[in-house]
Amino acid sequence: MATMTIVQAVKRALDEEMARDERVVVLGEDVGKRGGVFLATEGLYQKYGPDRVIDTPLSEAAIIGAAVGMAVHGLRPVAEIQFADYVFPGFDQLVSQAAKIRYRSGGQFQAPMVVRMPSGGGVKGGHHHSQSPETHFAHTAGLKVVVPSTPYDALGLLKTAIRDDDPVVFMEPKRLYRSIKEEVPDEEYTLPFGEAAIRRAGSDLTMITYGGPTVESLKAAEELEKVGVQAEVIDLRTLVPWDKETVLNSVAKTGRALVIAEAPRMASFASEVAATIAEELLDQLLAPPIRVTGFDTPYPYIPDRLYMPTVTRILNAAKKALEY
């Protein structure tokens, strides 16, 4: 067992997959000699050379669009977008090409590719280094969306993403890149999409979350325990497909649901989960599902951490649900 951070887990997943399958290539800005600005590709250029670790010109349209072409022609590209906020110049390629080529061609062509991107706030980066744009991808038919929150999951899910036959958007919560360390098995493993992880069991309230706010959710659950409330914390891990069964089973048991995410609330993935709970479990709910999300403003530089769901905000919402 080795102890590693999320960024190290990502690097190991890339390395193992590149060693296993020579069709796997990495492309992006500064992924070569520099090893990526977060060092997620460190050492790969030296190991696999410039034809498999490609420093691209500064164009996300080129990165994602070329990945589509490589994928339809038989490679397994893993594109890095330096920050999720910079996916937008490549958004058309993702939405119009990657997401639709299988459907558009009646299944003749497929684009097995991964687009990795550090996402989320808490790094004092202002709006263009802090956003959580997963809703755009989840809203786009044809894209799978994965958001790990631990090193173990990052490793297993990224390997699955690379082997998957569909385009996968792989979002890495950058504020957790180095803050969480965890033991990870030395042997190879993969993790399936569509299976949530129950991070903490409880009977009074369910917190459904993913990515960065998993940390605040667990802290809030600890606080609640001090006052005798047992919260169950579910980390979705993958958004498309998402694990409806685990969520509904838990909420059926607790009768109360908080959906906690960093992305803005308006038309968000959190809203999708909350709506599903309301639709399918209405008669078993003790309180309406409550969303605790980022605010519907651009992500401000000041205040940085207060934009995202704080422990206090989660506790305020829990109180509302418990006192309903």
Partner: protein
């Protein structure tokens, strides 16, 4: 009249400080000394920002030492407060030279209420409506097309204004950059595109960015002249920019000016440049320093002595220190400001969300 598309960069001062232009220098002594003072002030500002970072007063710096001559030259070529500027994040010396108040630049770095942008953006992202400086956006090249739009508005309204937009070499790979130049070319927009080519986009050197020998060459494709300039030469930067700006003002259309510069520091405070470029390369460029070169030029004209240089540095340092003091002693931006300016008026859902935040403060 400068020739576009030259093989060698346009240069007016050689490295020994000799004037090598084939025309009469038409700047007053005062104007020359202002160029000098602005470069010195820009260098000092850059140094102060790094101190702010080390003392935890800011969270990010984009070092600009090495870019001073290009930026001071451009600033002098336009009419501040009349023409519009769409800058990028490495332009502190340009903005300071345009008269952007230093205390407001410092306030932007620290997120205090003196920042006209209300602390909304990360450091090195200023902007100022009164000075017609469009607030910087991080996404590379995203400001280039809006800059063209503003120029078209100027053209259609016949205001006589010109747009200056700046960007790095990496920006020339983005689709938006090409979309902007193409549209400007088609419409003959009054705009000057200024590439501050420091050879690197973070770690990616220019040979991996473009197969063109020069950025200026790309102007060909968009039907405008492209000039390549020694951007470590403040007079070359100024004169070429002046010509490009006056062409645009006269209705002769856009131009692309490539200023060859070098950034002495890492890409940003989050970067380690030793991984991708040799120290010797940096040292070699520092020997071509634009401020030193201009000092030699001024010295030959009896406008500069080491004592005078020291005096200018002292004066500028004092001004910056006073500005910094004022900016940093101002109140920090209050958290609830985040709900303002999302729209012209705050809709109900933001009122609700503001209450959620206030509940927890």
């Amino acid at each position: 009249m400068f020739q576009p598309f030259t093989e060698e960069p346009i240069r007016l001062i050689d490295e020994k400080g000799n004037w090598i232009g084939d025309f009469e220098l038409d700047l007053s002594e005062d104007a020359l000394l202002t160029l000098y003072r602005n470069m010195v002030a820009g260098r000092l500002l850059d140094e102060r920002y790094i101190v702010l970072l080390r003392t935890g007063k800011t969270s990010f710096v984009a070092p600009a030492a090495g870019h001073e001559a290009a930026q001071v030259g451009m600033a002098a070529a336009i009419r501040p407060g009349f023409d519009w500027v769409f800058p990028y994040y490495r332009d502190k010396t340009l903005l300071l030279s345009l008269g952007y108040p230093a205390e407001q630049l410092f306030a932007q770095m620290a997120g205090t209420v003196l920042d006209p942008n209300k602390g909304r953006q990360m450091p090195e992202h200023p902007g100022h409506k009164d000075l017609n400086v469009f607030t910087v956006a991080s996404p590379i090249a995203s400001h280039v097309v809006p800059a063209v739009g503003a120029a078209l508005s100027m053209k259609f309204q016949g205001t006589g204004q010109v747009v200056l937009t700046t960007f790095g070499d990496g920006a020339t790979s983005e689709g938006d950059w090409h979309a902007g130049l193409n549209f400007a070319g088609v419409q003959g927009a009054p705009i000057v595109f200024a590439a501050e080519n420091n050879r690197y986009a973070i770690s990616v050197d220019f040979s991996k960015q473009s197969a063109s020998a020069r950025i200026a060459d790309k102007a060909h494709a968009y039907g405008m002249p492209g000039y390549v300039v020694d951007g470590m030469d403040v007079l070359a930067s100024y004169y070429v920019m002046r010509e490009a700006v006056s062409r645009a003002r006269e209705g002769l259309g856009p131009a692309l000016v490539e200023l060859l510069v070098y950034r002495y520091g890492p890409h940003s405070s989050a970067d380690d440049d030793s991984v991708y470029r040799p120290k010797e390369e940096v040292e070699a460029w520092k020997k071509k320093d634009p401020i030193t070169r201009f000092e030699r030029f001024l010295e030959k004209r009896k406008l500069w002595t080491p004592e005078f240089g020291e005096q200018v540095r002292d004066e500028e340092r004092k001004k910056l220190e006073a500005a910094e003091e004022k900016a940093l002693s101002a109140q920090a931006v209050p958290p609830e400001w985040m709900f303002d300016d999302v729209y012209a008026e705050r809709p109900w859902h933001l009122e609700e969300q503001k209450r959620i935040l206030l509940e927890e403060l």
